[in-house]
Amino acid sequence: MPQPIIEMHNIQKHFGSVIALAGVSVNVVPGECHCLLGDNGAGKSTFIKTMSGVHKPTSGDIMFEGQTMNFERPRDAIAAGIATVYQDLAMIPLMSVSRNFFMGNEPVRRIGPLRFFDHAHAAEVTMAEMRKMGINLRGPDQAVGTLSGGERQTVAIARAVHFGAKVLILDEPTSALGVRQTSNVLATIDKVRKKGVGVVFITHNVRHAMAVGDRFTVLNRGKTLGTAQRGEVTAEELQDMMAGGQELATLEGSLGGTV
């Protein structure tokens, strides 16, 4: 297995008297899709927010490319190459696709001492990147609001990869999507993985995880129940670990394993 890009060692995060993470260790290697599974309240969001610099861990180490990192704010994590795509907050609907694509990384053209947004360059790159991802735009000035949920996720992923993400964290990218849109996003994850980006895919849908995941880590009540390789674990076992064993047995009887 290649050298991990990012290693999280024994991460603890306390909010006052609440222990959100009680020692979680996960690593991500280039070109893999590492699925982070867990039920609501398991600590998935807190964990990825620690990884992306939103929260500082109470204790534990973050090693990025072999060096200990201390992210003070999200910008630090972004600068290091850790990009996060949030479910609802990926894009701004009122702005055009190209303005969204370059938001925070605007290309600049100099005219004398003045610096202007290079719209021509932005439009060209946006159209090219969108075509690669299989999204047909009417034009680069089309508003993001007119895109479907899956397309918005895809644009956000394409943006993160274009700006050099080495680790791409996807926070429940498929949870609000229909069947076709979900498969598009999963296909996008596959494309991105093949480029050598380490993908962290957060979901509570085992089937989506099994479709693209290389490794699976299950979180439950702020603890990890271990990391499994693809093929070492079945969907039922993952489901079991997420729901916490005992309670699930009765559940599964009534629902026939369809969840």
Binding site: L89, R99, G104, R115, A143
Partner: protein, 372 residues
């Protein structure tokens, strides 16, 4: 290249009609409104002198005043915030200039610069409080509206026992910095126009032979300069993209590294700057500062911006649209006088056009974002 692009066309994406493409431009409401207003007044007040040189200057100056504060309100609204203290800021800035210049006897350039610094400081404080507390800017600036207005009345009453301080024009006489805000330029050109009969000249009195309009007021120059600055900033720069992003969705913008707090605070400061330009031009023109100056200006600025197509919720709008909104405002306010209509009807008009603009904007927003 073009062949592959043609292949990539999605059969489900309908070509956008030219009308629809135009409809989603934020300036549309402003352009249609401007055409409608001019058509109306040319028909009903065309022979009243509204469109001769003096008449144009009359509504031009009023429109330019609205434009100056509308530019600030527009960029701030696109950044997702309001400033209700603009009107009080105008009164406060004028009063501070008067106190520094007339009461304390400081030089005009120093008085004006100091006032700008103070007001932009208040703007920054407004922004800082909004950012730090997460309160709606509506409430925070409503508080500053009262605080600033209170000081504007208290200070001259305590110092001079009156609410109007005069003598500003004499005190600022000969100061080159003050002349950036008062007076006119292009006097030679206008005299030439008058001598050659292109514009009217006074026929009697002490100014006989002089043209009826002696130049372009500095106020108009400021309005045009601020509109160009605001438009270029918003549409052609990196910072402009940040303004749209901050107003569109502050959290999404933060996640990709846009310094939202800095953008918002700077826009509050820019709005204060615009209010100061307005106030300085006004005291230079009137020669006095009054405690009631700028009353209701904050609402007039916001109305001009909304007529100009900006969304009250932020993230969408145009400086050109806001300028057209201000033009509509000025033309109607002065035009009703030329047309001999009772001037109180201006408020009726204002309410109606504001309602129409907001409804139109809501519809357009649905079209852009594809909401149902």
């Amino acid at each position: 290249m073009s062949a592959s692009q043609a292949d990539a066309t999605d059969e489900r994406v309908k070509e956008m009609s030219a009308i629809r493409r135009w409809l989603i431009r934020p300036e549309l409401g402003g352009i249609v409104g401007t055409l409608a207003v001019f058509t109306f007044f040319i028909l009903f007040a065309g022979d009243s002198g509204m469109f001769n040189m003096q008449g144009v200057m009359n509504w031009g100056v009023v429109s330019a005043q609205f434009m100056i504060i509308a530019v600030g309100a527009c960029t701030l609204m696109i950044a997702g915030e309001f400033d209700l203290s603009v009107g009080s800021m105008i009164g406060f800035a004028g009063m501070m200039i008067a106190i520094f210049l007339v009461v304390l006897g400081w030089p005009a350039w120093l008085s004006i610069i100091l006032t700008f610094v103070m007001c932009m400081g208040v703007g920054a404080l407004n922004g800082f409080i909004v950012i730090k507390t997460g309160l709606p800017s509506f409430i925070v600036t409503l508080a500053s509206l009262f605080i600033l207005r209170g000081f504007t009345i208290y200070l001259p009453q305590t110092i001079e026992s009156k609410t109007i301080i005069g003598g500003i024009r004499d005190a600022a006489e000969g100061d080159w910095f003050a002349s950036l805000f008062g007076g006119t330029i292009g006097q030679g050109f206008f005299r030439w126009l008058g001598e050659n009969g292109f514009i009217g000249v006074f026929e009697r009195g002490t100014r006989a032979g002089e043209p009826v309009v002696d130049g372009i007021p500095m106020l108009m120059i400021w309005a045009v300069a601020l509109i160009i600055f605001g438009h270029v900033l918003l549409t052609k720069t990196k910072f402009g993209n940040w303004i749209f992003a901050s107003g569109g969705d502050a959290q999404a913008a933060r996640y990709v590294g846009v310094p939202v707090n800095r953008v918002k605070i700077l826009m509050f400061m820019f709005t204060a700057f615009c209010a100061c330009v307005f106030a300085t031009c006004q005291v230079m023109e009137f020669g006095s500062a009054g405690a009631d100056r700028g009353l209701l200006k904050e609402f007039e600025a916001i109305i001009a911006v909304v007529i100009g197509g900006a969304l009250l919720t932020g993230g969408y709008g145009s400086v050109i649209g806001a300028a057209l909104g201000a033009l509509i405002f000025g033309v109607v306010q002065q035009g009703l006088f030329f047309a001999g209509v009772e001037s109180s009807l201006f408020r009726v008009f204002l309410g109606v056009i504001l309602l129409m603009a907001v409804i139109l904007n809501t519809y357009i927003r649905r079209m852009i974002t594809g909401e149902r």
